[in-house]
Symmetry: C2
DNA sequence: GGTTATTGGTTTCGAGTCGAAACGAATATT
DNA sequence: AATATTCGTTTCGACTCGAAACCAATAACC
């Protein structure tokens, strides 16, 4: 059993990534968590851009998330928009300056350097291994997967090549199926 | 290039591990960072159990680390011992109750569950991939590796099977070569 | 040998995270 | 129409974190 070895590796990798994120975020006056939230918001769909969704994603309390978003709003990296149908809900859009900041920050400099020193097959292997670990982690602990629609069991491919979500009963565009959804469930869920 | 994909995977894995660590630590009244420091201290050698070493390991400032250690000390999970030769330096030993807490906490419940759902070859693959990513990350960014003596270029195996460190000029026991050292440098460093 | 760095560590300060809990408003349920 | 639930904010206290000032011990230098 390699449990302990793998644990240590993931732990250490997480620590180094945090150091990296701290450094990267500091250049724009952001803390690691704020950068993560911004990153999430930039890559999720319209059902998943609410404070509650962020709360589930980060595993924090809604009070904490509320404050994080407030500071992102103050920096004008993000803007809150009230929902049309449910007045309790607000959607959080990333502003152009938010997108600009992200494009300069992610992937981080250290991480980009790392990948540039890995061959294509090596990247392939690492990608597959991480994917497997992540999916197993989520399944084993019955957590929400927060994957993209493309890999979701509710997503259906029509004969004409277009996509349709059987959960919200609405069509999905080619770009939408690459966004993160809070209702995502893996296809191969047995 | 899988840079972005791999980045997202590591980022997400790190987040989930933090959620896990928060939950695990909370059972003993510890925060994630405090648990990490305790874990590090329990697996490093006598040259690496000082506040400064922890500072380098976590990439935080010495002031922050000083406080974290102070709270661990207050909980009697750790004890500070003055160095014999240099009165500025203090060594931090994990107490029996600290070791007990760790054995109950690491690897975390979620992580153990995850690994139990992975076959032996799968674990092997994941272990190798993570190892490669970590080593490349450290090399690419010229960071301290914090590896164990067994894999260090200063470690030398004598003919009788015993070990010797060429940096501090002292023999190493079989159990010592499995501890983390702040002066560690990978053998294959070209 | 005595002055001047340098190093290990602590303390203080201010900004911000974080969970817990109380709260308000909108929507669901009954 | 009354009650419960949900989304979100606010407030509080404990804690992280970096920056900077500070102290004591050691090292470097002349």
């Amino acid at each position: 059993m390699k449990t302990n070895q793998i644990y240590k590796l993931v732990e250490r990798l997480g620590e180094l990534l945090k150091v990296d994120a701290r450094q990267t975020g500091a250049e724009h006056g952001l803390l690691p968590v704020q950068l993560e939230v911004l990153h999430y918001l930039s890559s999720c769909n319209k059902y998943s851009d609410t404070p509650m969704a962020v709360t589930e994603y980060l595993g924090q309390t809604k009070g904490t998330v509320s404050q994080t978003i407030k500071t992102l709003e103050k920096k004008e990296l993000v803007i809150k928009i009230a929902d049309d149908h449910d007045k309790r809900i607000s959607h959080i859009d990333v502003t152009p300056s938010g997108h600009k900041l992200l494009s300069q920050s992610i992937p981080t400099a250290m991480f980009a350097r790392t990948c540039s020193n890995l061959s294509q097959p090596q990247q392939q292997e690492i990608n597959a291994a991480l994917q497997q670990l992540l999916v197993t982690f989520i399944k084993s602990n019955k957590m929400k997967s927060f994957g993209i629609c493309q890999t979701c069991k509710y997503n259906h491919k029509n004969e004409d090549g277009s996509f349709y979500c059987n959960l919200v009963n609405a069509p999905l565009t080619d770009s939408e199926i690459l966004l993160i959804c809070r209702e995502h469930e893996n296809q191969s869920c047995d």
